[in-house]
């Protein structure tokens, strides 16, 4: 006797699409793909089942900025978006830079019983870019990676030492790759449109220059380390920086990279509205950059789609474009957005898309793949092809606004399970 039976459902994971099958779930695992008795039966016809998603990059704002988001709202938003696992960024107040802070977040998240939280820890104390944190103790406390995200790593020597230190414990070091001195006060992509709109530009070269530098730092760390360092480039946004990562991967460098839903679906043209909703770092780029990123998703230059979910208050996003904070919330729309815009509209392979939400990010963290097989952990998401417009007012996130408000999307998560337990349900 199982707990849940999902009948007539198509399966999709990094291995491909198959089915329909009857998936029996119990004891936190997939018990059978051939049906069986269960306490609850869910009709899966027309729907498809995927492994639970893993987000490598979300800002949940706790501790210190609970006015924007907290663990409860952020992790509820996550499960509504089909995420069963999530890496939170450490740029909180104070920053997460001690094993105690990592443990406290994990404990609190476990008690919530929503998505599983992996609190990333700061690479440097206070994220000040000077003194390294204790990589080994942070790893033991449960940190999945180290990063000073929110800030840029201006000191190359500190980054090199950080990569060497993290390598000993198999921890990736994730970087927000922008040269701050070249970026200056830029609030949108630098170029003819920024010139026309009279907004300070953040040049694509600021990202490319920093990625180039970080790859050289990685080469140095690789040569010096007795263990293998791992550099993870966050939210790649430009064609040029993507090419640099592609070359580095071909040369065998231990580098991985992610792209965000907004950089894959929006361009700088959105800034014509002068709406700070579209203010994000790195900035929205050009159509040419979007095409390059999609190519990078296909050819493996990009390993994962990560949200960079960055909630702020409505009032903060109603300041002007110079003063409003950077960031776009997206946990609740990321998958349906890319399902619709990439798979449905452009024929991007569904198997690869699902991989970019599952095995791709899992591999970045060194987790084993998760496929829909008998015995596999029942951390799953049931997706519905029915169309529905994005309604930010219904978000679980405290940030109830969205650049995609009103976009009609398909592929909404209607059921999310973590180890066989229902954490989100929106079945009709």
């Amino acid at each position: 006797m199982g707990d849940i039976l999902i009948k007539n459902v198509m399966l999709v994971d990094a291995l491909g699409e198959r089915g329909p099958v009857d998936v029996l779930i119990g004891e936190g695992r997939i018990l059978s793909l051939e049906g069986g008795e269960a306490q609850r039966v869910i009709e899966g016809k027309g729907r498809f089942l995927a492994p639970g998603f893993l987000d490598l990059h979300a800002h949940l704002r706790e501790p210190g900025q609970e006015v924007k988001e907290d663990l409860a709202t952020g992790l509820r938003a996550a499960v509504r978006g089909g995420y069963t696992d999530l890496v939170s960024m450490p740029n909180t107040n104070p920053p997460v830079d001690t094993p105690e802070a990592v443990r406290a977040l994990r404990k609190k998240a476990q008690a919530l019983g929503l998505a599983r939280l992996y609190p990333a820890a700061a690479l440097t104390q206070g994220q000040e870019g000077k003194t390294l944190t204790e990589a080994g103790l942070l790893k033991e406390a449960g940190a999945p990676l180290l990063t000073d995200d929110g800030r840029t790593n201006e000191d190359a020597g500190v980054l090199a030492a950080g990569l060497l230190g993290a390598a000993a414990f198999g921890l990736p070091v994730a970087v927000h790759a922008e040269d701050a001195s070249l970026r200056r006060g830029g609030v949108m992509n630098d170029g003819p449109l920024a010139d026309l709109l009279g907004l300070p530009g953040n040049p694509p070269e600021a990202e490319a220059a920093r990625v180039a530098r970080d790859l050289e730092v990685l080469r140095y760390a690789l040569r010096r380390a007795q263990a293998r360092p791992h550099l993870h480039v966050q939210h790649l946004s430009t064609r040029r920086a993507l090419e640099l990562v592609r070359e580095a991967k071909r040369a065998g460098l231990p580098v991985t990279a992610e792209a965000t839903p907004h950089h894959l679906t929006l361009t700088e043209e959105a800034l014509r509205s002068f709406d700070p909703l579209f203010k994000v770092a790195p900035p929205l780029r050009t159509g040419e950059d979007v095409e390059a990123l999609i190519e990078g998703l296909l050819d493996g230059t990009l390993d994962a789609i990560a949200t960079d979910h960055a909630p702020h208050t409505q009032a903060e996003k109603e300041m002007d474009l110079l003063r409003a904070p950077f960031g776009i919330p997206s946990l609740e729309v990321a998958f349906p957005l890319l399902y619709t815009e990439l798979y449905r509209k452009r024929g991007f392979p569904l198997k690869r898309l699902v991989e970019l939400f599952t095995d791709g990010p899992r591999k970045v963290l060194g987790l084993p793949p998760l496929h829909l097989e008998v015995g596999a952990e029942a951390s799953l998401v049931l997706l519905d092809p029915k169309e529905r417009p994005v309604d930010p007012k219904a978000f679980a996130s405290k940030a109830r606004f969205s650049p995609w408000a009103g976009w009609v999307l398909e592929g909404w998560p209607v059921l999310t399970l973590v180890e066989g337990r229902i954490v989100h349900e929106a079945l009709e």
Partner: protein
């Protein structure tokens, strides 16, 4: 026309109609009693999130000369950083029954944002580097007065084009009236491109055979940011008597003010007969009367 934010999407006919109204308003200002009842019962708010005395006075005078009630809100930029919101300020004014908002801000786009919050007409009184449409209208009005027409005329804008809302608005407006607009300045103060403007780092090229020259203010903060060296700027980009010999004889000089004498413009030129600076300020009132009239009365016709 519901708002005046910039000149994107404007036609020549719309601009000419507005300038025609401005000429009527200019006649009103020549009368002994410089007041008409055109906007009686309307309320105009000047909402200056960035301080500016002359633009605010010009708008307030324009509104009063048409018998509108005027309320004035002035906030230092610092109070915004303390958490005061644009939206709340504007909604407060809306609740008091304001019909038109003249908005000035140091950030591009604030007037655009305001149109999403208030029902009244929004007039851009200057937003960051983006636009200063009434300045461009008064520049066009003054140029037409001096030159007779703008078709085929070469207008040179000199100085910090990159950071200038005046340059951007003129770049949109003057070509609509047939002018050929050039922009000259040091490379670090030029945009990569600006539709409607031929950009050059060579001042002589922009001044050559120019029918009129518009000189922009060089702001101290550009020097502080290391974008330009003051001595170098004065040596190569100051508009002087000698350099103006390249332009057409008697080509008039414009400046949006406030002026740094002997920085961007040779001091003696500012006082010369070629300078239209006071004429610009004078025409500003009539032009702003026309804008208020078109937005508040014109749209109900």
């Amino acid at each position: 026309m519901k708002h005046l934010l910039d000149f994107q999407g404007w036609t020549r006919a719309e601009v000419e109609s507005l300038l025609d109204t401005a000429r009527v308003m200019a006649e009103v200002l020549e009368r002994p009693v410089k007041r008409v009842p055109a906007l009686q019962g309307f309320t105009v708010a000047t909402v200056f999130f960035e301080p500016s005395t002359r633009t605010r006075l010009s708008f307030e005078l324009a509104a009063r000369r048409m018998s509108a009630d005027v309320v004035s809100f002035a906030a230092a930029t610092s109070s915004l950083q303390k958490g005061e919101s644009y939206k709340d300020t504007l909604l407060t004014l809306e609740a008091m029954g304001v019909d038109a908002y003249v908005i000035r801000a140091d950030a591009a786009g604030v007037p655009h944002q305001a149109t999403r919050w208030v029902r009244g007409a929004v007039i851009n009184g200057g937003d960051g580097r983006r636009a200063h449409p009434t300045q461009a209208l008064l520049d066009a009005y003054t140029l037409l007065e001096a030159l007779g027409g703008l078709e085929g005329r070469k207008i040179a804008i000199v100085g910090d084009i990159l950071h200038s809302r005046v340059a951007r608005s003129n770049a949109e407006l003057l070509p609509l009236l047939g002018a050929e607009v050039w922009g000259a300045g040091p490379p670090a103060l030029l945009p990569q491109s600006l539709p409607g403007v031929r950009l050059t780092p060579r001042l002589d090229e922009a001044l050559a055979e120019a029918d009129a020259v518009m000189v922009l203010r060089l702001q101290k903060e550009r020097m502080e940011a290391g974008l330009v060296n003051l001595e170098d700027y004065i040596a190569h980009y100051q508009v002087t008597e000698a350099r103006l010999k390249k332009a057409k004889p008697e080509a008039p000089l414009l400046h949006p003010g406030p002026m740094n004498r002997d920085v961007e413009l040779e001091g003696t030129l500012a006082d010369s007969a070629r300078s239209l600076v006071n004429r610009q300020v004078h025409n500003g009132v009539a032009v702003r009367m026309a804008v208020l009239y078109h937005l508040l009365v014109g749209r109900e016709r």
